[in-house]
Amino acid sequence: MPNDKSKPVALLIKGGHVIDPAAKINSQMDVLLRDGRVAEIALPNKIRGGSDEKFDARGLIVAPGFIDLHVHLREPGQSHKETIATGTAAAAAGGFTSVCTMPNTAPVVDTAEWVAWLRHPERAAVVNVFPIAAATRSSRGASLTDFADLQRAGAIAVTDDGKPILDDDIMRAALRLGAELNLPVVQHAEDTRLTENASMHEGPTSFRLGLRGMSAAAEADIVERDVTLAQQIRESRLHVAHLSTSDALKAVRRGKRSIHNARVTCRVTCEVTPHHFTLLDRDVGEFDTSFKMNPPLRTPADREAILVALADGTVDAIATDHAPHATHEKQVEFERAAFGITGLETALALAITKLHREHKIPLTRIVELFTAGPARVFDLRGRGSLARGNFADVTIFDPKKRWTFDAAKSRSMSRNTPFDGWQFTGKVVATIVGGKIVSSGD
């Protein structure tokens, strides 16, 4: 590695408060990063030896680098919405050092070649990119992709995100093959047979607006089915993406209990997005397409259940489902507008403002949901903790800093966010990937 001044090989993070739930650290610590790894972590002023650069972290939280299990970076094929370069720049600005990319691009990422393409240095990613590959060819739900080949090329999970696997036999086969290879199968739980032409949650708001709704059952039924299938397959791994309903949580809880059952050894995990723990279906107001996403915003009871599950450990990770779209894809009739919102740059701020300050969830738990939790879900070895020898991925944030989000200044290519102009508490100060600062301050 070249010893270049702009890319220090040794960086000492001094005076910060380290929260590393995996290592059970919640105290003042100094952290020394060297050659892309955590070289040392010790009580203040105990680290001897040289460093090329120091980072003054007094008054700040120093955490393992955040991991986002669910982003759409739109390449290949949709670079008018986002590129890997712009999407990872937004990730860095939001404190994420690793992102897991969804395969629903054009074409779908269903071959080892495309997985390798995503990871190629020419994509100019500024944070780690972990591709999730398609579970079936072209995500058509008919025949499985070559999981082993995809895994060798670097895929860390498989999914047909957006086009959920409805066929029982195909889902069973995917979970079986995943179990053999220790590869999680990620499911966007939606019975698309029940949600045709629907554009928001089915309830009083959709009825009032005259919009076709997606029922809570359309999500929960698939999660129920998937958990049941997973429990029939030894060592299968099911990850429920962007869970949004109270009933789906019940199914996940049922799945998680099987880990304590010697005969059933499946692993069921789930993620929740910041918008689902923050917003409600009625927030779409008068057809505001910045509030249109899939799964849709739900009811107060669903949000309450999600908040409980975030606090009690049922939820494994906060994931953004960062889904950029061009203006012309959103400034159309609500029913015709694309689903999805950006989320990388507002995730931590929403977690601190809503979960920590409003709902009193401890910062240690919030950090876990961004670090150790997601690292475990996809077995990202050497990440999610600042233990000595791990990758030098670090997120430094100020939990008290007040700021206003201005979508126009986003690093993403797209502006489709419902949080434009929101005032937040909690801001990323620096994002360090492989020992190098990739984003800092404003």
């Binding site: 009083p204 009825f207 400034q331 009739e333 609500f334 434009d420 102009g421």
Partner: protein
């Protein structure tokens, strides 16, 4: 605490826009009804001389389109009809681009009917001229609710204490949504009646004072006003209830009409399908106000247009 600052992307609709009944103030509704009573298409008034009103219709329409056109012309305005077929809409022009184009050719107001809920709202957010909703998907049909209110007040002293039954396919009905918002505001008690596929339980959450029943006899007993809705046969496809069953259980017949008050009136936004949601005897009977509604559409829409273009004097 978080606060949402006003967002630059969301402009307020231009004054005079009519997007729906739900967010209209009581006094605006009463003002429009009062103004409509002073409008007479047989005595044209050049209130809107040289004003250009574009009728932008993405869906078929007989009543709404012709009555908006006649209303505009009775006030001296110039009208232009733009339909999805035969225009650039067919070539894939977006709704907003069509709006900008019509604004650029000099439209002073746009009357829009669209199959997508919220289409008029999108246009109103981006244009500085009044936008009038002539029916958006399953959402609202405010001019119909106003002309229905106008019709009711011609036959009943006031809204206070009135009992109204609305029968049929509530779920798909923008007319019903607008009528429920308007009438319940003034103390009208409304019963919604139909099978669960057409009248889901959630319907009752639309406005205060709504009640649901599955039995037409229960809905009709002692009511002052009966509002019928067109049944689209294809919407029965795949549902539990057959066409014969539907007719047997929910068709408005002369015998059933006798359950209502003796001076009850029968209304229908049209188009009516004789032999389906109602019999010819009911449609043509003495209590029917179906043709009167169409007639009242013109002065009501004259009032809406006059208000839109600031000539509500």
């Amino acid at each position: 605490m978080m606060h949402r600052l006003p967002s630059y992307a969301m402009n307020k609709p231009a004054r005079g826009s009519l997007l729906g009944i739900e967010h209209l103030e009581d006094k605006e509704i009463l003002g429009l009804l009062k103004l409509a009573r002073r409008m007479n298409p047989l005595k044209p008034r050049p209130l809107l001389r040289n004003k250009r009103v574009v009728l932008l219709f993405y869906e078929a329409s007989t009543r709404t389109r012709s009555s908006f056109e006649i209303a505009a012309k009775s006030l001296g305005a110039i009208t232009t009809l733009v339909q999805s077929s035969g225009s650039s809409i067919e070539k894939g022009e977006s709704l907003l681009d069509t709006g900008y184009t019509l604004r650029a050719v000099g439209a002073d107001a746009i009357v829009i009917r669209h199959p997508a809920a919220g289409a008029p709202h999108l246009m109103a957010k981006h244009l500085d001229i009044p936008v009038i909703n002539a029916g958006d998907g399953m959402h609202e049909h405010p001019s119909q609710a106003l002309l229905d209110a106008f019709t009711i007040l011609k036959h009943k002293k006031s809204f206070k204490g009135l009992q109204v039954a609305i029968l049929g396919d509530i779920y798909h009905s923008r007319v019903t949504r607008s009528n429920c918002h308007l009438l319940t505001r003034f103390g009208v008690k409304i019963t919604l009646c139909g099978p669960p596929e057409f009248v889901p339980e959630v319907s009752a959450t639309l406005a205060p004072g709504l009640r649901i029943t599955r039995h037409i006899e229960d809905a009709l007993r002692g009511v002052d006003v009966i509002m019928l809705l067109r049944l689209q046969k294809e919407r029965l496809a795949g549902q539990k209830i057959s066409l014969q069953d539907y007719i047997a259980r929910y068709q408005m017949t002369s015998a059933r009409l006798r359950l209502a008050k003796r001076d009850a009136i029968v209304m229908h936004p049209g188009p009516i399908i004789r032999g389906l949601e109602l019999t010819a005897e009911v449609a043509d009977g003495p209590q029917s106000r179906i043709i009167d509604e169409v007639h009242n559409g013109v002065p009501t829409r004259m009032a809406i247009l006059a208000r839109a273009l600031g000539k509500a004097k």
